[in-house]
């Protein structure tokens, strides 16, 4: 008997669009999670995963696709957090409007920092961006009249949609899911767009890209603006969710490292790598903090640092691409085996 290959076309559609189907399944699963998980701590971890997934994806636009290895994204994160919080506390502007304002401020800051450092490459760009974030941190500590310095700013609890505050964590899960989808959707669109191809071209070879007529300066600026705005939106969400910010939390170089780290461990220059990275790294660091952090100070971060070195040294291209490669090999092997079996069946039939 011969098996027809066309009678299960529905299934074929699913396998052809497997990443889309996986994403839809994942989104639905996350959307249902708050209904099933009742322990707030797990929801908190989920919220952090989605927040950092979005932030790492925003970093990935610059670091992964365009080759601008920024270690200063805490600058944009902090600008977003301080913009929405200060507008709300000082002028009573709704955090939603403050979030938009923060995105614009960060985009402008991105242009101001990126434009002069466009000539820099690799580690030089990383150092310049690191210095930029440090300057903002020092200023935010120093300018006590505006930012309350190291005391930080506390946002009073006042539930309501217009104040971006809700009792419980369920709404936060949905909001952060929307944020994650917004950023990942943009990255997905971006890597299929002309701009995305330009970015990859200039990452691979700046000179050659220019030779082909790509305005590399413009591409870098656009990407920086997008990346900075998304990071700032994440910063506003963080400020509202935590309802407390201070310069050491939001402008911390460790934040910049965290965004980049999740992106790199997950897989730079891939759409889902940073999200995947966030799903591994954030619960891992929370888990380490929970189990090791209490007993000996520094033990959890030591484990984190060692794991980071091991991952970067063994899987320099990231966990997600490595897993995908394995999966592809496994699928090809299986397809080959199935074809061989079919062929054998056919022979038996003929005989």
């Amino acid at each position: 008997m011969k098996r027809s290959l066309s009678d299960n076309s529905g299934w074929r559609w699913v396998t052809c669009h497997s990443s889309l189907c996986w994403s839809l399944a994942g989104i639905m699963a996350i959307a249902l999670l708050p209904k099933m998980i009742t322990i707030p701590y797990y929801l908190h971890v989920l919220i952090l995963v989605m927040l950092y997934g979005g932030l790492a994806s925003a970093w990935n636009l610059m670091g992964g696709y365009t080759g601008l290895l920024s270690l200063g994204h805490a600058a944009f994160f902090g600008l977003g957090a301080y913009s929405s919080t200060l507008l709300y506390l000082r002028l009573g502007v709704s955090p939603w409007a403050g979030m938009a304002a923060g995105a614009i401020v960060a985009a402008v800051a991105g242009v101001i920092t990126c434009y002069p450092s466009l000539r820099l490459k690799g580690p030089f760009f990383a150092l310049a961006s690191l210095a930029f974030a440090e300057v903002l941190r020092i200023i935010s500590v120093f300018w006590v009249d505006l930012t309350a310095g190291s005391n930080g700013l506390t946002i009073r609890y006042r539930p309501g949609f217009e104040y971006m505050m809700w009792p419980g964590k369920e709404m936060w899960v949905y909001l952060l899911l929307a944020y994650l989808l917004l950023v990942v959707g943009t990255v997905w669109k971006f890597q299929r767009s002309k701009l995305g191809f330009y970015a990859v071209a200039l990452r691979e070879d700046d000179g050659a890209a220019r030779m082909l007529g790509i305005d590399t300066t413009k591409v870098k600026l656009y990407v920086t603006m997008a990346s900075a705005s998304f990071t700032a939106i994440g910063g506003s969400l963080y400020a509202q969710y935590m309802s407390y910010i201070d310069p050491y939390a939001v402008f911390d170089p460790a934040q910049s490292v965290q965004f980049a780290l999740i992106g790199i461990c997950g897989g730079m220059g891939t759409v889902f790598g940073p999200v995947f990275g966030a799903f591994i790294m954030v619960p891992l660091s929370e888990f380490l903090q929970g189990t090791l952090g209490g007993s000996v100070r520094g033990l959890n971060m030591t484990a984190y640092g060692i794991m980071l070195m091991v991952v970067v040294m063994t899987l320099p291209q990231g966990v997600y691409p490595a897993l995908m490669e394995r999966y592809r090999q496994w699928r090809n092997a299986r397809a080959k085996a199935a074809a061989a079996a079919l062929a054998k069946e056919g022979q038996v039939d003929v005989a």
Partner: protein, 292 residues
């Protein structure tokens, strides 16, 4: 008063220069920015501190065993961590050393806790008067050692066969390899010498600076600024960059606000990167072609 501020800035600059020379040598040869540099300074400070508290060895004598130990640590680090990453992407290189930095800092936290420790010596309060200006003895010592180490390093690089080989590798890897130089051995030696400089610097710092696990972050960031200012890979540049940052820091601390002094030198750093990315003493264009 201006002269006093200026001269104490120069003395602080000597410390920065000494730390940065190691970083710049490592970068010049391996083309890799070591983001764990500050943590190596911190470990050397702890080594100096432990030698003086446990064995009663004065930090200025302890410099010798610490420097030798640092050289060995440098060899091990290069062989174990840096060597496998030499041909990896920038991102991987940055994050391996970053991971090393996180690991070392937190290991120090586990072992020694967050307390500030300082070494008490007979000379740490001593002051020498040079005309109208007062100078602390430990700062003069570090400054003089920084200058001597630089001269020594320059002589080593230009006069000895090994030094010339290292210079050749830093100028052109492939040409050096074609001339029969074992470039990987040179990487190891250069890295170890760089770490040895850090060992000397860390040990000399113990009488003047408090020792604690997070101290490395401050010195690390400063040494990146210095190295970029002086030109990556340029030893003389590191000395002048260090002195310049020391002076800028002390002037801005005195005339503007102590809390903003770091912000000011970071601004200078960004301005230098933008106007002259090769640094004040580097060759123009080196930042684009040298690092591939």
């Amino acid at each position: 008063m201006f002269g006093q501020v200026l001269i104490s800035g120069l003395m602080t600059g000597g410390v920065y220069a000494l730390i940065s020379m190691g970083l710049t040598l490592i970068f010049g040869v391996t083309r890799l920015v070591n983001f764990a540099h500050g943590e190596l300074v911190m470990l050397s400070m702890f080594a100096g501190y432990l030698l003086s508290t446990i064995f009663g060895i004065d930090p200025y004598v302890g410099v010798i065993p610490v420097a030798l130990g640092a050289f060995l640590v440098g060899v091990l680090l290069e062989r174990g961590i840096i060597h496998p990453m030499l041909n990896a992407s920038h991102a991987a290189q940055i994050f391996v050393t970053m991971g090393l930095s996180i690991t070392l800092m937190n290991l120090a936290l586990i072992v020694w806790g967050t307390d500030y420790r300082s070494v008490r010596t007979v000379y740490d309060g001593m002051v020498v008067y040079l005309g109208p200006w007062a100078l602390g003895v430990p700062r003069i010592v570090t400054f003089v050692v920084a200058v001597l180490m630089m001269v020594g390093l320059l002589l080593f690089l230009s006069r000895t066969l090994l030094g010339k080989a290292i210079t050749a590798v830093s100028q052109d890897r492939m040409a050096a390899q074609l001339m029969g130089i074992d470039i990987y051995k040179m990487y190891t030696i250069a890295f170890a010498i760089g770490v040895m400089f850090v060992g000397v610097a860390g040990c000399l710092l113990t009488p003047t600076y408090a020792t604690f696990p997070m101290v490395g972050q401050y010195f690390g960031l400063t040494s990146y600024v210095v190295v970029v200012l002086g030109g990556m890979g340029n030893v003389v540049g590191a000395l002048f960059g260090g002195l310049l940052i020391g002076v800028v820091e002390s002037l801005s601390g005195y005339f503007i606000a102590p809390a903003l002094k770091e912000a000011i030198y970071f601004v200078i750093f960004v301005v230098v990167l933008v106007i002259r990315p090769s640094g004040l003493f580097g060759i123009v264009g080196a930042e684009e072609m040298g690092i591939k």
